[in-house]
Amino acid sequence: MKNSLKRIKISDKIYIIKGSNSKLQVSINGKTKVFSRKQITDYEKGAEKTYPKIDEELGNFQGDKVCKVSEIIGIVSDIFTKKGQYVKKGDLLLSISAMKVENEIISPISGKVVKVYIRKNQKVDEGQKLISIKR
């Protein structure tokens, strides 16, 4: 086993790192903690590893046709698309004014707007249909 000692100064703190092949002892301002080598390498790997990216907001739409419904009670403050228009995934479709905020409704897929169910300044309920898009 090879022991090595290293001093590192970061801002006002001095880190003393003592290491062997399997254990690493770190002292920071008098406090000491021992890490196993594996723990550290795993953390480093973990930090760089990209976990399966989840499209949380848009979810997984398998079908061809999507109908966006309102998640909140509010008033339609602006509509940015028209029937027949092509939109891309992530495009802003319309905004609903609710809870003091403009809630943006974003397209979950790329496709053609088939129908717009609402008008500007109309009140919408939770679960009410807003717009449908076909791939």
């Binding site: 970061i10 801002s11 770190v26 903690k33 890490f35 196993s36 594996k38 723990q39 550290i40 795993d42 953390y43 973990g46 930090a47 760089e48 590893k49 976990y51 399966p52 989840i54 949380e56 907001e57 979810g59 997984n60 998640e71 909140i72 009670i73 004014s97 609710a98 809870m99 003091k100 905020v101 403009e102 809630n103 943006e104 939770e126």
Partner: protein, 497 residues
Amino acid sequence: MGFKITIKTMIKKRLKVKRKSSKARDRIKILLDKDSFIEFHTFTSSRLVKSKKLINDAVVTGTGTIDGRKVYVYSQNFAEMGGSLGEMHAKKICYVYDLALKTGCPVISILDSGGARIQEGIYSLDGYGEIFARNVEASGKILQLSIVAGACAGGAAYSPALTDFIFMIKEQSLMFVTGPKIIKTVTGEEITLQDLGGAMAHNAKSGVAHFAVANEDGCFSLIKQLFSYLPSNNLDDAPGFVSRDPIDRSCKELEKIVPIEESKVYDMKKVIECIFDEKSFLGLQRYYARNAIIGFARMRGKTVGVVANQPKVKAGCLDIKASCKIARFVQFCDSFSIPLVNLVDVPGYLPGKSEEHEGIIKHGAKILYAYSNAQVPKIALILRKAYGGAYIALASKALGYDSVIAWEDAEIAVMGARQAVELLNSKEIKKMSKKEVKEKVKRYKKKYLDIFKTAETDKIDLLIERKDSREAIARLLDNLSTKAYKPTNKRHGNIPL
């Protein structure tokens, strides 16, 4: 290890069967560190059902390590009589739980079972009871993680529900109390297995599960990642890591991420990523009640429980689902001594008929209860706004927050300026022109919403610029790290469940 090979030959000699590789055992081997697994009760079999298929009574139990930390595991084997739970099956699981409780080690369960073994009648039902009792006893003492690797039907579904975190695998995991066939005969509703109790059903709709993972390998790597944030029991500390991210890193990006106009929305995740250690945030229940974000992150290498509002979804308001999600998370962090940091940008509790009738009062009170009850360090950072009851729940000193920090342009009030003006001048407002209303709102804002006025009271401990958010939180967390627990002589409170 030598004795493992002898067990193999012993089985061959004694039972005259060859021990086949089973999925249950393979799963444990993938989950645990290499060669660390020790299996218990290899010869235990059912008293009531004699079958050559039933070698381990459909469950593999044992102990081993993950990243060098001791854990206890059990894994049900669907290939042996559908992984059904009999008397001995339950006893094996109970033994593992008892040892884990004595030694303060986590229990990880890999569930893949069709339910109770019908042939064993009351003995198998009794077995479930024994397991549930241990789940409850272990709750808040040791960490309990469940992987639903296959089916988990009937009463069996309640065991993972009593544990801390549930992992589900897409297109593979199933959880329900009654299956589609029974539902059809009773109510006439038709639904597929996956739609009823699949991973996404429980991650997006019911909120029962905490993670939805694409495949088994992903699931095991995620469980290891989660485990690295958590202590093994309520007396241990969470493992610390060396962070290369400097504590006084300036968060200049926050000026771009968070728009100044209060009606504009933004992604709170970016704020979290900016404030805490680089790439350290792990979100829980990412598909459920997305208007609230919960998860673990690290600050200077130490685990922190993060609760934040997501303005992008439902304006970031608190509703029933979000309240339940946050309250349970706070309870978890409190029982395992993980400090809490709130990032608050909240317009209030969601108004509405359905919310009221479904009990927003009761469910909203859960947050108040959980936070008020929590004795871990609690820090709240108010970003742009904190209105009404949601302010009390998430950022008020009165509820026992140790430090309340606010950005220099934050607003704290009973309600938004416009709404307040409309309410206070409900008679005159119809006659006023738009310009006059605007003027009035402006005046109101200056008079009542100015953060410096609020800061004249003792309700805000620290006013900061956006870019100093990381440093302020890091230093305060460090300060609070020695916070002591007040011992109490009450059995437990009566949380509005």
